[in-house]
């Protein structure tokens, strides 16, 4: 009996610390590189070069971040524009893509779900199969179209080809299908036309979905690499992801690792901010089953 009595306690202690240890290890593995990046961004270049590199922040934080933000980097002969310019480009691009995708896809899903028109399903499948044509596959023709339209080095050229989205259309369609027919009919009897029904009923019900999508699409837009690399040939059109890679890549020349790291940390902030601010909505949008 006595043995049985004290087992639960031993067990509960073990139950407590084992998961904690696992979590702690996980956090350490995830966070350590970020910490190193942050520390490196506060040191001078010679300090980073010494082995082992210090693991506590240095005293050059303000200087490094100021220089990265306002003056731009230099690696070998390649000049990169100031980080604030690249971040502005990235923000414009990510926002345009996210907002554009949401507008286009919510409208097309609304049409496909709530209207009966000829070839409705054919249109839906046409949208659907574009899932098989990501940017990488259609990049050559798309570049040609953009060049012919004189949209190289413009925000329009940077964002429009990425806006059409089968995934978001599909997501909205699935959500719209859960809206009961009676609700549509009640609105008809209440005298709400199609656009009024969209504005007064569908849109408010989709808020959580829109928020979740916005987070995902903002990150998608922010992290774009290949397309902005080809379209933004002018330094003024560089996004931060491109800029950062250019700071490192130089034929054997010295790299200002403290600048690179500061830029990396700065590049992290907007996506983190979006996720943190929209987390509540994001989770709600993904798990909500209530209609």
């Amino acid at each position: 009996m006595a043995a049985q009595l004290d087992t639960p306690m031993t067990k509960s202690v073990r139950r407590d610390w084992v998961p904690h240890l696992v979590i702690a290890i996980g956090i350490f593995i995830t966070a350590f590189p970020l910490w190193v990046a942050f520390v490196a961004s506060t040191l001078s270049n010679p300090e980073i070069a010494q082995a082992p590199m210090p693991l506590l922040p240095g005293d050059r934080a303000a200087a490094n971040y100021g220089e990265a933000l306002w003056q731009g980097g230099r690696s070998g002969r390649i000049m990169t524009p100031p980080v604030w310019e690249m971040m502005f480009n990235s923000t414009v691009m990510a926002l345009s893509i996210a907002v554009g995708k949401i507008i286009i896809s919510i409208l097309s899903a609304y049409a496909v779900v709530f209207f009966r028109f000829p070839f409705r399903m054919a249109f839906f499948w046409m949208i659907f199969i574009t899932l098989m044509l990501p940017v990488e596959v259609r990049i050559v023709p798309t570049i040609q179209v953009i060049t012919n339209l004189n949209m190289m080095n413009t925000y329009a050229g940077l964002t429009i080809p990425l806006i059409a989205s089968a995934t978001a259309t599909l997501l909205f369609r699935q959500f719209f299908l859960t809206i009961p027919d009676e609700l549509v009919e009640a609105a008809k009897i209440d005298g709400a036309g199609p656009m009024k029904f969209f504005r007064d009923v569908v849109l408010p019900l989709s808020v959580t979905n829109i928020a979740a999508l916005f987070v995902i699409l903002f990150l998608y837009g922010w992290n774009q690499y290949l397309w902005p690399l080809l379209i933004g040939t002018d330094a003024r059109m560089q996004t931060i992801v491109i800029g950062m890679s250019k700071m490192i890549d130089s034929a054997g020349g010295p790299t200002d690792w403290n600048m690179v790291m500061a830029t990396a940390i700065l590049a992290l902030l907007p996506p983190v901010l979006v996720v943190v601010l929209m987390q509540r909505w994001f989770v709600k949008g993904l798990v909500e089953t209530e209609k």
Partner: protein
């Protein structure tokens, strides 16, 4: 206020399925018409055609003087209560009720007055600021009713509005709907598959089957003179006993049956109908014109005020039910003789199921 009339109305779906066949119904101003029938009989389709949610393939639907076939639902001056209430989940109770009025450009103070009035009648005033999800089923039902009332329409349409409520609440709301409809005097069409609900609510009862009207009239007319075996077995619970009989010398002939003189059974036989509640235990000889049935008791259900007695008749194995008043102490296995008076006997044609005689 207005009468509703359907004349020769048909609904054919693309693909050729005929959901509603040639229906004529006239509902006088202020009456409550109940459409009842088994699922798939076309009653909901018919209601939705009146609402304008389904197109009318053929025939005329009139509300008041005007033909409404080609009007949008919102222009027909109707209000509809749905089975699942169809409340806007993101709007408060107040907004749910006000939405239709706002779309019509009703002045703000008028909306306020009407919503408050409806909320007072339905006793939902304390919930006006809540969202539907914070309400119970019964309360949501009331909000759905409120949304219909505030519109002050010419016609109320109810599509099985009580089906999602529990039994007790259903009876309570049934009574309230009846009272409300009387008080407002609005012509109403009510769809249900529950015959008891239909009987208690209807001024005009329309029994439908397979897309056509089996019979329409006052509920008691339908109960007393069912036009067909379908209506006979649909109206009344437990359903009417239907016994196949042959033509004898002085009336129906079937094993276990006696009497029934005066019933004109055609040569090929017929179906004899008698309601369970019209049977009494026969203590003496059964009069010639009354019907006597003797059968072995197979099961007894005593519910207090009455007792249901089941048993097979005359070797055919067909089960009949007798609904006897009080506590009839009968043991399963013993034979019992019951009798039904002549005026409670119904005769139907075997092939068509139509009523024979008066």
């Amino acid at each position: 206020m207005a009468e509703v009339s359907l004349s020769r109305v048909r609904k054919v779906y693309p693909g050729g399925v005929e959901a509603v066949k040639d229906i004529d119904i006239a509902i006088p101003d202020g009456a409550l018409c109940v459409l009842v029938g088994p699922s798939g009989c076309g009653k909901s389709t018919l209601l939705r055609m009146i609402a304008g949610l389904e197109t009318i393939t053929e025939g005329d639907c009139r509300i008041g003087a005007g033909r409404v076939n080609d009007l949008d639902p919102s222009d027909r001056d109707i209000a509809m209560v749905f089975q699942n209430y169809a409340l806007y989940p993101h709007m408060t109770v107040y907004d749910n009720m006000a939405y239709g009025l706002r779309n019509r450009g009703t002045p703000k103070d008028e909306i306020e007055a009407r919503v408050q009035e409806a909320a007072r009648i339905l006793e939902i005033s304390p919930f006006l600021d809540r969202k539907p999800r914070a309400l119970s089923g019964g309360q949501r039902q009331r909000v759905a009713m409120g949304r219909a009332i505030v519109r002050k329409p010419q016609v109320f349409l109810f599509d099985e509005p009580l089906s999602n409520l529990d039994a007790k609440l259903r009876i309570q709301m049934r009574v309230e709907i009846k009272k409300l409809q009387r008080a407002l005097g609005v012509t109403s069409v009510y769809v249900t598959h529950d015959q008891l609900e239909a009987m208690t609510l209807a001024d005009i009862l329309v029994v439908m089957s397979k897309g056509h009207v089996e019979q329409q009239g006052s509920p008691l007319d339908l109960y007393e003179k069912p036009a067909s075996t379908f209506v006979a077995s649909f109206i009344g619970a437990p359903p009417m006993n239907l016994i196949p009989v042959g033509a004898g010398e002085n009336g129906p002939q079937a094993p276990g049956l006696t009497g029934g003189r005066g019933l004109a059974v055609p040569a090929g036989g017929a179906t004899l109908g008698v309601r369970p509640e019209h049977m009494i235990v026969a203590t003496g000889p059964v009069p010639d014109d009354a019907l006597g049935i003797t059968f072995p008791v197979s099961a007894v259900e005593a519910v207090g005020a009455e007792t249901f007695v089941y048993g097979p008749i005359g070797g055919t194995g067909q089960e009949i039910i007798a609904r006897l008043p009080g506590k009839a102490l009968l043991a399963p296995g013993t034979p019992v003789s019951v009798a039904a008076a002549a005026e409670h006997l119904h005769l139907f044609a075997t092939d068509t199921g139509k009523r024979l005689g008066p």
